[in-house]
């Protein structure tokens, strides 16, 4: 601005003379005082109407210049030279008259400067060198602009041309929230923005960019005004209502609302559904729910990490279990931020209830050295769970280098479970070996509270950081249950040779409380390398007790304690862990890290009733390394190694006696060693933007020393007794590859996925070692033809092959193919109609063990009609499983048994729904 005040219009005597027919401007520049010619002076021609640059030239050694191809019309000539004041004048260029401007005299800035007077006004200082005005304390009419506001502020003047002077100096920059180039038109911020959007006006001297950069104060300071925007400018609400029914037995209803004012957010929702919706999905959770439990942190060296604080199986958005669920869900959330977002609070309450009715059949085939064995299990169950939960997160950004975060969650819940099952074991020839009929029921109360405190601090040296984490976790479960079972064992002739019945009540109580602390320190070794130290201490105290009661002689009440089946244990685990990691990163080239942790775990289990205890400890190792290489062609190669030892659990060493299933019993193994697992992963990814080709491959290999397996004794009565043992040589190998490519004509996206895995698993059967080798391979192309807002067709077939051979019966391999064909189509129709349909054909090859037909064609379709302004409402007619063929299906191929499970799941239903999205957004329009 100072320079602008220096802008000098020299009215020197020049004349416009016409020589030839060219649109060319010529002339020369000369110093006023020294009368010498000026080389390299810039002569620019601007269009007068909008000051757009239409041509420029520099003067030659003699000070002469020639501007060619200058369009006709009114123009401005601007002549500038670093040491001279600007020369500006108007020139009219006509089609017929080339212009010679003759000699133009320039005046040195040093002479001009003498005439420049700096006026001084006494500034109002509030914080350091910053003067701050609170905008609301100055009365203004509605609709006033920022300029009107500035005029009211003491110490600030705005002249008729909009030029601002603060504290006697011309204001060089007007920033909005610290950003100079806030809008596309930076010059008119003050005249076009409404004053009620402004919270504070700050006036300060901004050092030059160079001084800021070098730290060397060059004395250049610019008077700057920074307009801080109000935070609560945004005010409004949005929400969603959905109601759906088949007018018979299915319903799916929900209401969601979020009202916001600035940073404050208040939201609530209610959902009731028996079509599988059990909570907010990802999108809804973003709008109406609390924090997603996702955590993000950086390692001090600039690499970002994500971790998700896992909820439990009761927190999902849709039902994945077996059976038919009915769910009720309601919640409320409050969140706010204060003090420039430095402090934030997020709290919520949620009620959940889920009732599930299920029925299923499992058929299993056991492979014994000399024979085969079949078990069929048929059962049904009912469960009801209720939970009330509260959660809160408080975050405090103490200063730019340190932060504190406190989170707490608590819930209380009730659950009821009922199970009836009938199971039969058959020998190779289909004759009964044993049968069981079991009925269990239980009612449980549970409580939990957990909290954590995280403190992070960045120290002065870049890359040097400290983080501390303290956490606590407490859970308590009390349950009362009943067990009724009848077991029958058969002889060769098919006659019952022995039978047992159980009729007991069981009172369980389980408490676990954990405290842990972790400290991490990172030290930069160089710009690229970082060393990380970590230490953690974890103490877990648990107590579990079970009291088994049976009916007294002749009585109907369960009152006699069965001593052998009642117990009271405490389990304490103390873990100390220390680790060291080295990380190196060279952007766009290579990233690698290696290191590991070593930890000692001390276990102590006390039998409180018998006053005895078992104590043992293990030292565990966790080595790891990874390399990420970016090739010159942009492809990425990633290698990862991970090793960890795992100590056997105390239950594997010495289990607590349990009679809930007499046909499956466990015994302990005090000689069990810890296992050591190593995983290797290698992947290669590349993507080409213009050809839209992607290639993704990955190999993984894992091997385990002293893996835990189980010896299964199948006794004379056909009971399965298992004991954990160590085995050698368990390993698995996997491959995945994917390729996708966009075809130009037709408009087709093709991709191909292939995967393969092979596993070797060692186990025991009747003390005989069995090695099971299994192999899986799958391949599936995918074809997509889509046009935005028009249509989308997808066809995705997938073929899988499974083979499993056990070493004790290599003559009895299991192998089968399964196929799945998925077809999807969506079409936008006139009258705001949209039709979507998909169909999945599942073909499962029958095997000797599984001769049931489990092929299913699942066909769904829906028709949507949009209406209201901005298509805010949708009327939807949907049909699920139109052919009424759906079944729950799962096939397992394990070391020495194969099983197939089918269970009840949703079958055909139709539903008519209305979905309405509404909103009122209070964001004021920026002019």
């Amino acid at each position: 601005m100072r320079k602008i005040t220096l802008l000098l219009l020299i009215c020197s005597c020049f004349t416009v003379r016409a020589y030839t027919q060219n649109k060319t401007i010529t002339g020369s520049v000369v110093d006023t005082s020294e009368k010498k010619t000026l080389t390299n002076t810039v002569i620019s021609i601007l269009r007068k109407a909008d000051s757009v640059l239409v041509g420029f030239a520099r003067s030659d050694k003699a000070g002469n210049f020639t501007l060619k191809k200058i369009p006709v019309g009114k123009s401005i000539i601007l002549i500038s030279h670093p040491a001279y004041g600007d020369y500006v004048d108007e020139v009219e260029i006509t089609a017929t008259s080339p212009v010679d401007l003759g000699k133009i005299f320039m005046t040195q800035k040093s002479q001009l400067l003498q005439e420049y007077v700096v006026s001084n006004a006494s500034p109002i200082r509030i914080k350091g060198d910053t003067t701050e005005y609170k905008a609301d304390s100055f009365y203004l009419k509605a609709g006033s602009t920022v300029e009107d506001l500035l005029k009211k502020l003491p110490g600030i003047q705005v002249d008729r041309n909009g030029k601002i002077t603060a504290q006697g100096e011309a204001v060089q920059k007007v920033l909005v929230d610290g950003e100079e180039f806030f809008s596309d038109d930076p010059t008119i911020v003050t005249q076009n923005m409404l004053s009620d959007a402004i919270d504070k006006v700050q006036v300060y001297d901004k050092k030059s960019d160079q001084a800021t950069f070098t730290g060397v104060d060059d004395g250049v300071k610019n008077k700057t005004i920074d307009l801080k925007l109000k935070e609560n400018r945004k005010k409004g609400y949005f929400g969603k209502v959905e109601a759906g029914t088949d007018a018979h037995q299915f319903w799916n209803n929900s209401v969601m609302l979020n009202a916001f004012k600035g940073k404050r957010k208040l939201s609530g929702f209610g959902i009731m559904s028996n079509t599988g919706k059990t909570g907010l999905n990802w999108q809804e959770s973003n709008s109406y729910g609390g924090s997603s439990g996702m955590e993000m942190y950086d390692d001090g060296g600039g690499t970002m990490y994500f971790s998700s604080g896992g909820g439990d199986d009761f927190g999902g958005s849709s039902f994945y279990g077996e059976g038919l669920p009915k769910s009720w869900n309601a919640g409320a959330l409050y969140s706010n931020k204060w003090d420039n977002d430095k402090v934030s609070l997020n709290t919520g309450y949620q009620y959940r209830k889920l009732n599930t009715q299920a029925r299923g059949l499992t058929q299993s085939k056991y492979i014994l050295p000399d024979t085969l064995y079949y078990i069929n299990d048929n059962g049904n169950s009912y469960s009801s769970r209720i939970r009330n939960s509260l959660n809160g997160t408080y975050e405090y950004q103490i200063d730019s280098s340190s932060s504190l975060k406190l989170t707490a969650q608590a819930y209380t819940g009730k659950s009821v479970n009922m199970n009836n099952s009938y199971s039969e074991s058959l020998d190779e020839f289909g004759k009964f070996v044993n049968t069981s009929n079991r009925k269990t029921s239980s009612e449980a109360d549970n409580k939990s509270i957990n909290s954590s405190l995280v403190y992070r601090k960045k120290l002065k040296k870049i890359g040097r950081t400290i983080s501390l984490n303290l956490s606590q976790n407490y859970t308590e479960t009390e349950s009362d249950g009943y067990l009724n079972a009848e077991y029958k064992y058969f002889d060769e002739a098919g006659m019952v040779k022995q039978s047992e019945t159980t009729d007991q009540a069981k009172l369980n109580s389980n408490i676990r409380s954990t405290f842990s602390g972790r400290a991490v320190y990172t030290e930069p070794l160089s710009k690229r390398a970082i060393l990380e130290f970590n230490y953690s201490l974890n103490n877990s105290l648990g107590r579990s007790g079970i009291t088994t009661l049976e009916k007294g002689s002749g009585g109907a009440k369960y009152e006699t304690v069965i001593d052998s089946l009642s117990n009271n244990y405490s389990l304490n685990v103390l873990t100390n862990s220390a680790g060291l990691n080295y990380r190196y990163a060279k952007p766009k080239k290579i990233n690698f890290s290696f290191g590991g942790n070593i930890s000692r775990a001390d276990f102590m289990r006390k039998d409180i009733k018998a006053d005895s205890s078992v104590a043992y400890n293990f030292i565990n190792f966790f080595p790891r390394a990874n390399v990420n290489l970016t090739l010159p062609n942009g492809a990425n190669i990633y290698f990862n190694y991970n090793g960890y030892t795992r100590a056997p659990s105390i239950d594997q060493i010495q289990p607590i006696k349990d009679n809930s299933d007499l046909l499956n019993q466990r015994i302990g193994n005090p000689d069990l060693k810890q296992s050591f697992r190593q995983q290797f992963n290698l992947s290669y990814n590349s993507y080409k933007l213009l050809s839209q080709r992607g290639l993704y491959t990955s190999f993984n290999f894992s091997t385990v020393n002293n893996d835990f397996s189980t010896i299964n004794f199948v006794d004379q009565l056909g009971r399965r007794i298992s004991q954990p043992v160590n085995v050698q040589g368990n390993r698995s190998l996997g491959f995945y590859g994917g390729y996708s490519k966009k075809m130009k004509k037709p408009n087709l996206m093709i991709s191909m996925d292939a995967n393969m895995s092979s596993n070797r698993n060692a186990g025991f059967i009747n003390s005989l070692k069995n090695i099971n080798k299994s192999f899986n391979a799958g391949i599936g192309p995918r074809f997509v033809v889509a046009k935005d807002k028009k249509y989308d067709f997808t066809y995705r077939p997938q073929v899988n092959f499974t083979k499993s051979v056990s070493s004790i019966r290599p003559d009895e391999p299991t192998q089968y193919f399964t196929q799945e064909h998925f077809v999807y189509a969506s079409v936008f129709l006139p009258l705001k109609l949209e039709f979507v349909t998909d169909c999945t054909f599942s073909l499962r090859q029958k095997t000797d063990a599984f001769d049931k037909n489990t092929n299913v064609t699942k066909w769904n379709a829906r028709l949507d009609k949009k209406f209201l302004k901005k298509d805010a409402a949708i009327l939807r007619l949907a049909a699920f499983d139109i052919l009424d063929q759906n079944i729950g299906f799962q096939r397992n191929v394990n070391s020495n048994f194969i099983s197939e499970r089918t269970y009840d799941t949703f079958r055909r239903y139709f539903m008519l729904s209305i979905i309405w999205n509404f909103n009122k957004s209070g964001v004021p329009q920026q002019q």
Binding site: S44, L53, Q210, S287, Y297, G463, G634, Y687, L690
Partner: protein
């Protein structure tokens, strides 16, 4: 310490060449090396009401800063990535994914750009972008030079604010910006929340080797490349529009 000393020396040398107002003929610079600092306010791209973005905002710094070098003589310039930033820059997804080496022939107004996007390299020959610059009276000091402000528009609607200095004879600038009566030492693009500012100028001898055009990459003509990129990014939503602007700079 050493660095500061060098900066100081550089500063002094700028001062002598640019503040030569006390009479005598100022030294006009016809070749050298300029370092630009590109600063992007990535918080501006994050939506407060999206929990993912809110988390990113909390964890990623407000500005990401990268450095670029421009070697130039009177008629040629080559713009390419410069020194590594002091601190590793944690960049939000999709902010300046393209790396450019741009060589410009300022006499013939032709440029050759080697663009690397997700590792793929393209070699694009094009004419220098024609911009209608509105010249203003505002002068600002950048890296010790008095620079005049000019406002222009690219890609139909993106406003570009440029600051150029008369004291450098070459008419180039950072990225593909050129065509003002001197060297562009500062560029601001509000819509991209990004500025490019020169931090220093070294009066070094620039050889023909330094000014050699890049040669690597799949060859494209400027228009073909742009229409292809537009076509592909059309399906990427509003995010794609932002990337498109950045990739076409």
């Amino acid at each position: 310490m050493n660095l500061k000393l060098i900066m100081l020396v550089l500063l002094v040398s700028f001062t002598t060449c640019s503040f030569a107002q006390t009479g005598g003929v100022p030294q006009f610079i016809s070749k050298g090396k300029i370092e630009y600092e590109r600063k992007t306010n990535q918080h501006a791209f994050m939506d407060e009401n999206n929990p993912w973005d809110a988390m990113m905002k909390k964890n990623l710094p407000k500005f990401v800063t990268y450095y670029f070098d421009l070697d130039f003589d009177k008629s040629h310039s080559v713009y390419k990535p410069g020194r590594e930033p002091e601190q590793r820059q944690n960049k939000y997804w999709g902010i300046f994914d393209a790396d450019n080496i741009i060589s410009t022939d300022l006499d013939s107004n032709m440029s050759i750009t080697q663009k690397s996007i997700y590792g793929d390299t393209y070699l694009i020959s094009d004419t220098v972008r024609k911009i209608d610059w509105k010249i203003s009276t505002e002068i600002r000091k950048i890296a010790g030079f008095d620079c005049r402000k000019a406002v222009g528009k690219v890609m139909d609607s993106i406003i570009v604010i440029a600051f150029y200095t008369d004291e450098i004879l070459a008419t180039g600038g950072p990225e593909s910006f050129a065509g003002l009566p001197g060297m562009i030492l500062g560029i601001a693009i509000p819509r991209m929340h990004t500025t490019w500012y020169a931090t220093k100028l070294q009066l070094v001898d620039v050889s023909a080797n330094d000014l050699a055009a890049p040669k690597k990459g799949k060859k494209y003509a400027g228009n073909d490349f742009r229409s292809k990129l537009t076509e592909i990014l059309k399906g990427w939503g509003p995010d794609g529009v932002r990337r498109q602007w950045q990739m076409m700079l």
